[in-house]
Symmetry: C2
Subunit: 258 residues, 2 copies
Amino acid sequence: MSNPDPSADSSNFALVRLRALLDDSSFEGEQRLPAERVLAAQIGIGRRALRRALEVLEAEGRIWRHQGKGTFAGPRPAHTPANLEELSKRTHPLEVMDVRLEIEPALARLAAMRATNGDIERLLRLAEKTASSSDADGRELWDSALHRTIAEAAGNSLLLAIFDMVDRIRQDTAWRLLRERARSGERQQAYVEQHRRVIAAIAQREAHAAEHAMREHLDHVREGLLKVMTSPLPARMDGQIPEKPVTADTKKEIRHGT
Amino acid sequence: MSNPDPSADSSNFALVRLRALLDDSSFEGEQRLPAERVLAAQIGIGRRALRRALEVLEAEGRIWRHQGKGTFAGPRPAHTPANLEELSKRTHPLEVMDVRLEIEPALARLAAMRATNGDIERLLRLAEKTASSSDADGRELWDSALHRTIAEAAGNSLLLAIFDMVDRIRQDTAWRLLRERARSGERQQAYVEQHRRVIAAIAQREAHAAEHAMREHLDHVREGLLKVMTSPLPARMDGQIPEKPVTADTKKEIRHGT
DNA sequence: TCCCGAACCAATTTGCAAGTGGTTCGATGA
DNA sequence: TCATCGAACCACTTGCAAATTGGTTCGGGA
């Protein structure tokens, strides 16, 4: 009987050689392997056959590769994003919402305890602006400024940096549409009232009340988000249907690497 | 009577010209101004006089400058660090501890709800290792791995990224010494017991208990940190005195930029 | 005493070259 | 007919040197 996959012959040879190389003590740590072109010449096979073997080893987790860097022995180092784009790809709106629900109530509580009178003045002015803003973009901006001012008033630079990180992800790309749909008219009204309550609690230095009010507000926001995501086609005035079901696509694409 | 500050003559001239330039619509946004050398030649004064004028404008907040970048119209953009070194410079151990107190109890709660059985197995193994580890470095590593595994088990990639960020700051530079001193023998014993409690709660899926146990644990850690920082020279078995009062120096160096 | 020009320092940006894995293509040979 | 190879190209990363910028110092000159 003939070989069912003759194409793998020289690749198999390469696999044997590569496994021997990896088992060798010289590649113990996270050592870098020679470049593909060099390695192929060393073993005496073509680059294509070598790459097939490397794919197997990578799938096994014995090596990892990165374009422009090289091929390395050992498991792929834990990928901690640290830059926004990567992080933004790997998360999704519900995760972000969960994080906000953990962080921002704490920020509100701390703000109630540590805000300066100047902070509180700024908050009150912002609340007015948010309420009186008419267009969606304007609301968006004032709302963002309001939440950030609370984060500043909390007086913890590290927490502020974390808030900024989350906020930048939130403002990224495709989510704007989602958020816009999540704030219908009456919901927007409720948001304004909830903001007022949070700010009032902070202004009166009621830490617990501030935390509670903020959590309640974000619960409402989360609920709005869920509603939009689970019923993607509510009656729309303009009758337009989004070309792509944003939520589903986004989630699938994001989920691929935990 | 003579001019009390004749040195400001050409600088004043430059100020007038510059204000006119800034009021001009062409520099509305965060536009970049010409280089100092060019600008000085344009206005027809020396660079030194120009720089005096620019200092005034910068103090007024109408422009901002940065070495190697240039001079820009408008207020200085909000500085959101985003990279570890900057962040690490701008925070201090107590801030980090406060953040951990906000984040990690939430992580423990989520882990209790969402951990896989595999996660729980890993946690139990790690707890053993941590308890049996003898040297300080070993404890440090196992402890870190334990907390991170809980963060992983919480199943929120964004929260995990935040945890990693905080953890990297925590492990940075000078704080290692501080932490080492904060874990005396009996405190270490208590930590092991607290870890056991957190893990047990997670394993039994008791979300609230897990959150509570983790908060209690971190409260103890915080207390240990405070004790070390407020009484920098406890009685030491070996009689050695650290060459430098680490806490004070570190705090001062870190504090310089809020 | 003040101003100017020059020079130097330090931080940043920019462009380029080299090297890497990822991919496509046509020629070759079993 | 098919797998293979070599070549070429693309996309990404790294490293380095040049250029540019603000920050600073110094000496000449009015």
